[in-house]
């Protein structure tokens, strides 16, 4: 029985010793002080942010400028303000910082969003407005001309993210297009579309695709160096669905068309029958990954460099309509029931 008692004792000791050993085996964590948190955030951007060279930003200089402003004794709100100021330098709508008491977006506040109202369009410009695709699609026909269809895509996001890259709602575009199949043209509106999953964007774009085309090339950070990128991955649209709408499409965009919404615009503009109007898209094409500081604050980092097949990067600039088709919405016009961008799109439906 002696050996039995010894083994039971060893087993119990092993369990007691192992629990405190966790932190030793798992390694330490960043110190939860303002200075350590600043360094942690700065270093993470230094090693994973993909767009320093595209934006011409010297991140080391940014460190030298902002690091002296941080002390462990400063207030939490003042510390947040310094971090916000530093991240604002990136001017990247995919970079944000969220805390329990405030949040900031490097690309600017949504308070300054370009004005747009789908309710106004439904009440003043189109008839028979319906929704489909779990509310993502709103569609109808122009009140002034039933031969012209209208589709608004609210977002390319819904449900789970990540591995579930393709969702059922996106393929509901088939039923929408079936109802509008007898139209001569369609105004396709992605204003206010803040993006979502590229898979959804590709699914919808495939229904307007007459020629399979590589529309973008994406490279993801693969190491800590500023130019450490993995192999290029081509993003391609291919014809899909029961039929493709290849008649004239007026694509309406504004500054709130972002991310996968902009990739959708990139894809659509490869097709000869598509004309972009409205204003420039936001100019954020990268995959944005959320990360967490040791104090629970969350932030996101743009980890990709996306270009067109020729290598041109539209980050910051966005996808811009031609000068003739460029049009912005003024808030006062919208308040008076006038959507100038929509009316510009209607003008473009008149084929000379």
């Amino acid at each position: 029985m002696k050996i039995k008692h010894t083994l039971v004792t060893v087993l119990l000791l092993l369990m007691m010793v192992s629990l405190p050993a966790c932190s030793f085996l798992l390694g330490g964590e960043t110190e939860n002080t303002h200075e350590a948190l600043f360094d942690s955030l700065w270093h993470d951007f230094n090693e994973t942010y993909a767009l320093f060279s595209v934006k011409g930003i010297d991140w080391n200089q940014i460190y030298n400028e902002y690091r002296p402003r941080v002390t462990n004794t400063m207030s939490t709100t003042a510390f947040f303000a310094v971090l916000g100021d530093m991240l604002s330098v990136l001017h990247d709508g995919h970079v944000y910082l969220m805390t329990p008491f405030d949040c900031m977006n490097s690309g600017g506040s949504n308070e300054d969003a370009e004005p747009f109202s789908l309710d106004l369009i439904c009440s003043s410009y189109i008839t028979g407005a319906k929704t489909a695709g779990e509310g993502m699609f709103t569609y109808g026909r122009l009140a002034s001309n039933s031969r012209i269809g209208y589709i608004h895509i609210k977002s390319f996001h819904l449900g789970l993210t990540g591995l579930n890259q393709r969702q059922d709602w996106a393929s509901d575009i088939d039923s929408v297009l079936s109802e509008l199949a007898d139209t001569d043209q369609i105004i396709l509106d992605v204003r206010g579309n803040r993006g979502g999953l590229t898979g959804n964007a590709n699914t919808v774009a495939s229904r307007f695709t007459s020629k399979n085309t590589v529309y973008a090339v994406s490279r993801t950070k693969s190491g800590p160096g500023y130019e450490d990128f993995g192999p290029p991955v081509e993003l391609e649209i291919k014809s899909g669905g029961s039929f493709q709408y290849t008649k004239r499409v007026i694509l309406l965009t504004n500054h709130e068309t972002m991310s996968a919404g902009e990739q959708f615009v990139m894809a659509m503009k490869t097709q000869d029958n598509v004309i972009q109007t409205g204003s420039a898209t936001h100019g954020v094409f990268s995959l944005s990954l959320q990360r967490t500081l040791i104090n629970g604050w969350k932030y996101s980092v743009s980890v990709q460099r996306v270009t067109d097949p020729k290598g041109i990067c539209y980050e910051d600039d966005g996808m811009i309509p031609s000068e003739d088709n460029y049009c912005i919405n003024r808030r006062e016009d919208l308040e008076n029931g006038v959507d100038s961008q929509f009316e510009k799109a209607v003008q473009l439906t008149v084929v000379p």
Binding site: I3, K4, A113, L163
Partner: protein, 277 residues
Amino acid sequence: MLVCITAGMASVPLPSAAQDNVSGSGISEISISVGWNIGSYKETTYAPIIQNISEPRVHIGALFRRNNFLHTIKLDYMMAKPGSVLNETAVIYQEFNPVSGKPYYTPVITPCYAHRASIEYSLLYALSTKPDARFSIGGAFRTDAYIQLSNYPSVTGIFSLGPAFHQSLRLSSRDVFEFQGGIPVIGWAVRPSYAGADALLMKYAEESPLKILTLGKLVSVHNYQAVFGSVDYKHSVNDLITLKLGSDIEYSRMAVPEGRPRYDLSLNLRSGILFAF
């Protein structure tokens, strides 16, 4: 720490004292366990934050012994909501309503769920067949999958091979101590990319999730260190039923991609019932 109730079946009705003495005949044992796991891990690809797990865990084990060969199979699964600031801190975010075109604030708590599953098969040969101390060595093939679902998912899958051993020590006619362990030395690992996710992963996820397996790379002890072991104290209530008190211990450290190691540790305590016939 895993406290398990184990139920099993053996194909040959044997006196419990004889179960570990027989070398020429076959013995098989299948067990099912439900227990509690306490562990911690750190997925530094997303955040250098230790996440703690305290959740139920299920385990199915099988042991087949014929002549001097011993086959063991273990299946293990656990779903957890790790405890850490990652999913316990509510923050606010300024959203944008694409219909009205107006902003609004919303609280955000990022849910984080972790799944862990493993399958292990060991083939061992008895070097010592002494009735009170049977010692076997051989090799083990393991498949380990760790999935963390938060924002974009972090998937780690490892197929590994390495040496393994099994030792049983008879304490009395009804009491046996069993030790089993292994060290993977080579494997194929699928890990998140350096940045956490990339376009190829998303493309494959859209085309066929099985293609993600091709994104793996060969690993060995220089970038993957792991130790798996278990200790069981087995008491035979009668010829068919056995109670088990056991502990499963594992430690693994994955350093792929470079500089982004993963640590994983769990400690388990198990008790159970074994049926034999």
